[in-house]
């Protein structure tokens, strides 16, 4: 915590608050029927994306998952554009052609949320390979879930990254559920990070609800990667407050489970308590951020609702650079 300056802490809190409010609002708007398609919310997991991406610049790349809104916001993707994209509007990050599962901003180093579980592993290795050729210390972070930890693509990518000594961090977001199936059923080891040993790389498991724990462990892994020390598997154990997708009744969760997690394991509450107790930030400063973020999310929804739909001309463009 000591190395974090006040401005870093306020920035991290703002990012986590943006993700939380964005997701809570998408949840609400989805219920009105105005948001098309499939939506997977990141609420509850904010400390993971934020703790990791706090170490990254626009030159570093991340690959994401179907639950990608938090990664996008943490990597600096414009929230107004994201909201418009989720509403399927022409002003969206991807002109309304991608939607919730495909938000990307290559200039920010965000290589896309991804509708295919585990697909980001190989892509992240490619991003890290490109960074290695560029030779300027760039890294790639592959975010994947406990479900994706069983995909061949992720395991193959861990092998590839280690034999090629790529500057890549495999970031396992273990929220305990692959859709409705518990991690205890799908993963035979106590921790996903235990698998790192099989690839001869460091494997670390931290409390993913604690921003400071994630920040510290990610910092170490990213520093090692930047210095040519190769990949790390970092597992963050966390919780998702909503269902696998919006509309999921979550009957597989124990009664009161989410309520308890919101009370006891909310990463925003944990962050605020630790940072204020250490005297690094004040409650008033955090409240001021809360207000600014609430206004930003209101603005994003208002703009998304008012934005035009894509037109027939947009249907046929952007398939190829030239054809």
């Amino acid at each position: 915590m000591a190395e974090l300056k006040k401005e870093d802490l306020l920035k991290a809190y703002r990012t986590m608050r943006e993700i939380r409010d964005f997701e809570e609002r998408v949840h609400k708007e989805f219920a009105t029927g105005k948001i098309p398609g499939f939506v997977h919310l990141y609420a509850g997991e904010e400390a993971v994306a934020t703790g990791v991406c706090s170490h990254l610049t626009d030159d570093d790349r991340i690959t994401s998952t179907h639950r990608g809104h938090g990664h996008c916001i943490a990597k600096g993707v414009d929230i107004i554009g994201m909201m418009a994209e989720i509403f399927g509007k022409k002003t969206g990050s991807c002109c309304g052609k991608g939607g919730s599962m495909h938000i990307a901003d290559l200039e920010k180093g965000m290589l896309g949320a991804n509708g295919i579980v585990g697909a980001g592993g190989p892509l992240g290795c490619g991003a890290a390979l490109a960074a290695k050729f560029k030779g300027k210390g760039g890294v790639a972070v592959v975010f994947f879930g406990d479900g994706a930890s069983n995909q061949g693509t992720i395991l193959e990518s861990m092998n590839l990254a280690n034999i090629w000594n790529l500057p890549v961090i495999f970031l396992a977001e273990n929220n305990g559920y692959a859709e409705s199936t518990g991690v205890k059923y799908n993963v035979p080891t106590p921790n996903i990070a235990d698998r790192a040993a099989g690839f001869n790389m460091p494997g670390v498991t931290v409390d993913g609800n604690d921003f400071f724990a994630v920040y510290e462990a990610a910092g170490e892994a990213i520093k090692r990667a930047r210095e040519g020390g190769g990949p790390t598997l970092l597992e963050c154990k966390t919780n998702r407050f909503y269902g696998h997708f919006e509309g999921d009744a979550m009957t597989y969760k124990a009664p009161g489970e989410v309520k308890r997690q919101r009370e006891e394991c909310d990463c925003l509450k944990i962050f605020a308590a630790k940072a204020t107790a250490a005297g690094l930030v004040t409650a008033a400063e955090l409240e001021a951020i809360d207000k600014e973020v609430a206004a930003l999310i209101d603005e994003a929804v208002e703009k998304a609702l008012a934005a035009p739909n894509p037109t027939e001309a947009d249907l046929l463009t952007d398939v190829y650079v030239s054809y």
């Binding site: 295919i116 697909a119 190989p122 991003a127 952007d318 190829y320």
Partner: protein, 333 residues
């Protein structure tokens, strides 16, 4: 232009010249150098068929050997392409794309559209394909129709050493994901190839032989079988126009339709299985756009709807042949 080199050497020369010209071009694949991690010779193989032989000596670490782990290394090539490199990644046999189809179909092909036109993914996926080697059902397939079905991918199928060099150079310089299909029977074929670098544009068919009586559209190795058939038919007074599309996505429908409007007859020779093939696709587009020009039924000469057989006795029956093409032309009369 008198120098003759093989189809294989033409590919190697295109790779070498583009690696020399552009530092962002990297070559990746199984054993592309060969011998890494052994106590024997380095640069031992140049790929299982020797196509990339010698590149490691010239370009060192820009020639990257990969583990037998298609999803990860094809995907890594796609990811590197999205981050500013121009990877040329080799899939030893095109049948193995089945292992990593997601990275081609859902990732490389979709980035540009899904991300609202902002992604550029200049990856070339080279692969060898096709029958004639008694290589059986998992090493002989002709899958360009499958790839051509997918928006976002370009699919290139050269038939000569000259086309192989010019089209591959275009693939590497192109800003979209391209699949470059090398017929294994053609590797040894020699032909005139300029030493200097050149490109052949995509979507421009090559009228290999002019004729007034029937149009034969043939792809890859089949171009040569079509020419044999055309020569034989010429002795009987039937002059066939032979068209090599060179790329099946984009496909030069204009040249094909114009030819059919002249000849009134169409035979398509496609080594793939017949259902949802380039043959059926070309047939349908011509029927839709030049129906009134047709003087007889369109004919398709393809493999049957079976996997590739192993036994030579069966594979010879399986593959299109000049005799089958001749019979098909006669059937349009």
């Amino acid at each position: 232009m008198s120098r003759k080199i093989s189809f294989k050497d033409a590919i190697n020369e295109a790779l070498s010249q583009e690696m020399e010209r552009d530092g962002s071009v990297i070559v990746m694949g199984l054993d592309n150098a060969g011998g890494r991690g052994t106590e024997g010779q380095l640069d031992a193989w140049g790929g299982v068929l020797g196509v990339t032989k010698g590149l490691y000596g010239k370009y060192g670490d820009r020639v990257i050997d990969t583990p037998i782990s298609e999803s990860s290394y094809i995907g890594a090539a796609v990811g590197a392409a999205a981050c500013g490199m121009r990877p040329v990644v080799e899939m030893m046999f095109s049948d193995f794309f089945g292992v990593c189809f997601d990275q081609m179909m859902n990732q490389a092909a979709k980035f540009r559209y899904m991300f609202g036109g902002k992604a550029v993914t200049p990856v070339t996926m080279r692969t060898c394909y096709g029958g004639g080697f008694r290589a059986a059902a998992q090493h002989s397939q002709v899958l360009y129709s499958v790839f051509a079905h997918i928006p976002g991918l370009k699919v290139v199928v050269p038939s000569t050493p000259y086309d192989a060099k010019g089209l591959l150079t275009q693939c590497i310089r192109d800003n979209d994901p391209v699949i470059f299909m090398e017929h294994k029977v053609l590797y040894a074929m020699k032909g005139e190839v300029p030493e200097e670098s050149y490109t052949i544009p995509f979507g421009k068919a090559n009228v290999v032989r002019e004729g007034k009586d029937a149009t034969i559209v043939a792809i890859g190795w089949m171009v040569h079988k079509a020419l044999q058939a055309a020569q034989s038919l010429s002795k009987a007074g039937v002059e066939c126009e032979v068209i090599d599309p060179r790329t099946v996505s984009p496909l030069d429908f204009d040249t094909i339709i114009k030819s059919v409007e002249k000849t009134g007859r169409l035979v398509i020779v496609d080594e793939s299985n017949p259902r949802c093939s380039m043959a059926s696709d070309i047939s349908s587009v011509v029927a839709q756009n030049a129906f009134k020009a047709l003087k007889g039924p369109i004919q398709m000469v393809t493999a049957p709807h079976t996997p590739s057989p192993f036994s030579g006795a069966l594979e010879d029956l399986y593959l299109p042949s000049p005799a089958k093409i001749e019979a098909a032309v006669k059937a349009t009369m």
